[in-house]
């Protein structure tokens, strides 16, 4: 099985879906001739032409709005937000239109769009190129949100998102584009939306997370195994809807849980996961639930020491995991 980078898996998913279904097209800023600022859509313009790899003006609200309109009449658009930070002008379209069309029309209309947006920092991007906007969209019924970590899941989930009958936000970690690599089948497969995945089996502590920080968790778990601490790791993969059964099952294994994400702590996905656990499994908990997340400061700093302070890394994660194991 070929080993490929996270970004190549995403590109391959789009290419395969566009070959499979001629209603699928990509649109966004510089996704056409340039092939995307990260090269995510490179080659699609050459292969499918400008109408299926469509450059748009710098207007995210229009990108989302055009995609929603196209989706409502049967197309399967993949709209790219160049950075998830730029997604906020389109928030009204996404939350008030895309998420509600099926409900509002009593099932007469639907909106099968995919909105891809790169999230996360650590690329020296500062305030406007590093945000994690999951929590903004997280509590919106009608939206599905996926945030893959492994390249395998990135390809399979993007293909599932394209085929889904409802709007799906696809958050890809931009630092992971070239950093994360793994085995990705070249054939057609999908990873079902709404299903979490156990990355590692263990019985001392459970770590639940999604996207890039799972890399640090995996590295730390490897080191902690040398010290006799066994870690159970659950990759949520989809954060809306959450895979409750998988969350509860992984908590039952150890009774000690830590939730990790880069988005800030207050009102993040971790808060909801923790609430689910406490609602269902209070009497199986052996330690207070821990959350390790970005700090509640307005945005990612641009200066390197502060960026380092802000971001999670292997050592921070390992310390927290060890503390939980010792409790």
């Amino acid at each position: 099985m070929p080993v490929m980078d996270y970004i190549d898996a995403i590109r391959l998913a789009m290419k395969e879906e566009m070959e499979r279904d001629e209603d699928v097209f990509v649109l966004g800023e510089d996704v056409g001739v340039k092939g995307g600022v990260f090269t995510t859509t490179k080659g699609l313009h050459e292969q499918f032409g400008e109408l299926r790899a469509m450059d748009t003006p710098l207007a995210e609200s229009a990108i989302a709005g055009v995609a929603i309109g196209a989706a409502m009449v049967g197309m399967k658009p993949i709209a790219e937000m160049q950075y998830s930070d730029f997604m906020f002008p389109a928030t009204n379209q996404i939350i008030s239109e895309a998420a509600k069309i099926r409900y509002r029309s009593n099932n007469d209309w639907s909106c099968p769009i995919v909105i891809r947006a790169p999230i996360g920092g650590g690329i020296f991007g500062g305030l406007y190129h590093s945000q994690c906007p999951e929590s903004v969209f997280f509590g919106t019924p009608g939206l599905k949100i996926v945030a893959p970590y492994r390249p395998y899941d990135a390809k399979g989930l993007l293909k599932a998102a394209v085929r889904d009958a409802d709007p799906v936000l696809f958050f890809e970690n931009k630092k992971g584009y070239k950093l994360l690599s793994g085995e990705v089948p070249e054939d057609d497969y999908i990873v079902p939306i709404g299903k979490a995945n156990v990355l590692r089996e263990g019985d001392d502590i459970t770590v639940i997370g999604y996207s890039m920080p799972l890399r640090f968790v995996e590295q730390a778990a490897e080191e902690l195994a040398q010290e006799g601490i066994s870690t159970h790791i659950l990759d949520l993969r989809t954060i809306q809807p959450l895979d409750k059964e998988a969350i509860l099952e992984s908590v039952r294994k150890t009774g000690k849980v830590m939730i990790v994400h880069e988005d800030n702590k207050t009102g993040g996905v971790g808060a909801e996961v923790a609430a689910i656990i406490v609602e269902e499994l209070l009497y199986e908990l052996d330690a207070p639930i821990m959350r390790l997340c970005g700090p509640d400061v307005p945005a990612m700093p641009i200066n390197p020491p502060a960026e380092k302070f802000f971001l999670l890394n292997k050592d921070k994660v390992k310390d927290a995991m060890k503390k939980l194991a010792m409790y």
Binding site: S110, P112, K244, E249, K256, E280, Y283, D286
Partner: protein, 433 residues
């Protein structure tokens, strides 16, 4: 059990904080149905009727005509006869929380967490009958961890092992049932009085053939043996029609005093299609085909023990409202047995509303000597692919039996297509008159 329910002033628009009662439509003692308007409201923004949220009897009006009251104020009291079980509050006293802290007195500096037990530890201890004070804690501050209990149990020291962890509390998903409009109604069960003679010792009953049954039998037999029947069916999306009818039916009932049925719309669609394809309105006469100019629709009306086909004469001269009235009158006369001979004569094309008894597909026998018969089947909500998307639409089948001596597939296909187009082109703007 009778309950008093207060009806409160609703929030009629986002910015409104109060409303004025213009006039009461109901008075104390009046019987009120669910959603029935009870009074008229005036506000700065809208004037509206206030529908009742319960069914019952109006007991008392709290706010008189012309009074302005804030949103949320009770305006009247309605006595309902529902069981009040749901509204009674449950005063369950929550069981006293288990103390997790244990005895502080035993704490010493080397093991401050020694007697603080987590929920998991307490649960496991009680399941396995473990006395926690026997254990040595390996956790933070000498805390007994879940794993400590598990390994203590695994070492076989305690007594009986209890049941394993309970199953997850996830409910199986409730079954989704999708039913058609007609199918959601409980079909009437025919009560057929068997009048006949039962022969002792034979498991059989002899029923005398009534004159009407005899006529039906003769006509059916003649039709089937003389007319080479062919059959075809088309599927119609009546979602817009359903919405139109829902919009108009109450008003129509109020104005005309009769039900606005789907059948009236169907007849209109059929009659208009016959005008475009007059050959549907004909009769086989061995050496010629007689095409009738008048469109007289025979309407199959079933009673408990027979079926009759009274005729709507000159159906092409009537609008939907007129057809609805005719249908209502003929159905009533049929059920009351008051049809006279002229009501039954002159039919040129038959329509049978088979959907009314839940059918979704039928193979009708032509009403001899006409050229064709059409059935209108149940309206059923179904998933339908539109522009590669799945939508839930109200669908109905139309079945057509035709005299293959007169008619062929192509002409009937076109005719059905026209009926379908006519039905599907009803929309919220369509009028009845």
């Amino acid at each position: 059990m009778k309950t008093m329910t207060e009806i409160v002033m609703p929030q009629l628009a986002e910015s409104l904080v109060s409303a004025t009662i213009d006039r009461w439509l109901k008075q104390p003692g009046d019987r009120i149905d669910m959603y029935e308007p009870i009074c008229e409201l005036l506000t700065d923004k809208v004037n509206a009727e206030l529908p009742s949220t319960v069914a019952g009897t109006l007991v008392k009006i709290l706010v008189g005509n012309g009074e302005n009251v804030p949103v949320g104020t009770p305006v009247c009291i309605i006595e309902t006869e529902e069981s009040a079980a749901n509204t009674q509050e449950l005063h369950s006293s929550p069981s006293v929380a288990v103390e997790t802290a244990g005895q502080r007195a035993d704490d010493d500096d080397s093991a401050p967490m020694r007697n603080r037990y987590s929920p998991a530890v307490q649960q496991l201890a009680s399941e396995h009958g473990v006395r926690l004070s026997d254990l040595t804690g390996t956790g933070l501050g000498g805390r007994v961890t879940r794993k400590d209990v598990l390994s203590y149990v695994a070492s076989g020291k305690p007594g009986a092992s209890a049941a394993a962890a309970s199953a997850s509390g996830v409910d199986p998903k409730a079954q989704v049932r999708s039913s058609g409009i007609h199918l959601s109604e409980t079909p009437r069960i025919p009560k057929i009085e068997v009048e006949g003679t039962t022969l002792p010792g034979r498991g059989e009953t002899f029923i005398d053939v009534t004159p009407i049954r005899n006529t039906i039998a003769r006509n059916m037999r003649q039709s089937v043996s003389e007319i080479p029947h062919a059959w075809t069916m088309i599927e119609v999306d009546v979602t817009n029609l359903v919405m139109l009818r829902n919009k108009l039916k109450n008003e129509f009932m109020k104005r005309e005093g009769i039900n606005l049925t789907y059948l009236a719309f169907l007849l209109k669609a059929v009659v208009n299609a016959i005008k475009d394809y007059p050959i549907m309105n004909s009769t086989w006469a061995v050496d010629k085909i007689i095409v009738k100019r008048d469109i007289n629709i025979s309407l199959a009306v079933g009673t408990e023990d027979s079926v009759l086909t009274p005729v709507i004469k000159n159906a092409d001269h009537k609008n939907v409202a007129g057809l609805a009235k005719e249908i209502d009158e003929l159905a009533r006369k049929t059920r009351e047995g008051k049809l006279n001979l002229s009501d039954m004569q002159g039919g040129t094309f038959t329509v049978n509303n088979t959907g009314s008894f839940g059918s979704i597909l039928s193979y009708p026998i032509i009403n001899y000597p006409q050229a064709a018969i059409l059935t209108f089947e149940s309206i059923v909500k179904r998933p339908v692919v539109i522009n590669d998307m799945i939508a839930v639409r109200s669908m109905a089948n139309l079945c057509l039996s035709l005299d293959h001596r007169i008619l062929d597939g192509v002409i009937c296909g076109r005719f059905l297509q026209r009926v379908k187009d006519n039905l599907e082109s009803f929309n919220m703007e369509s009028t009845l008159y």
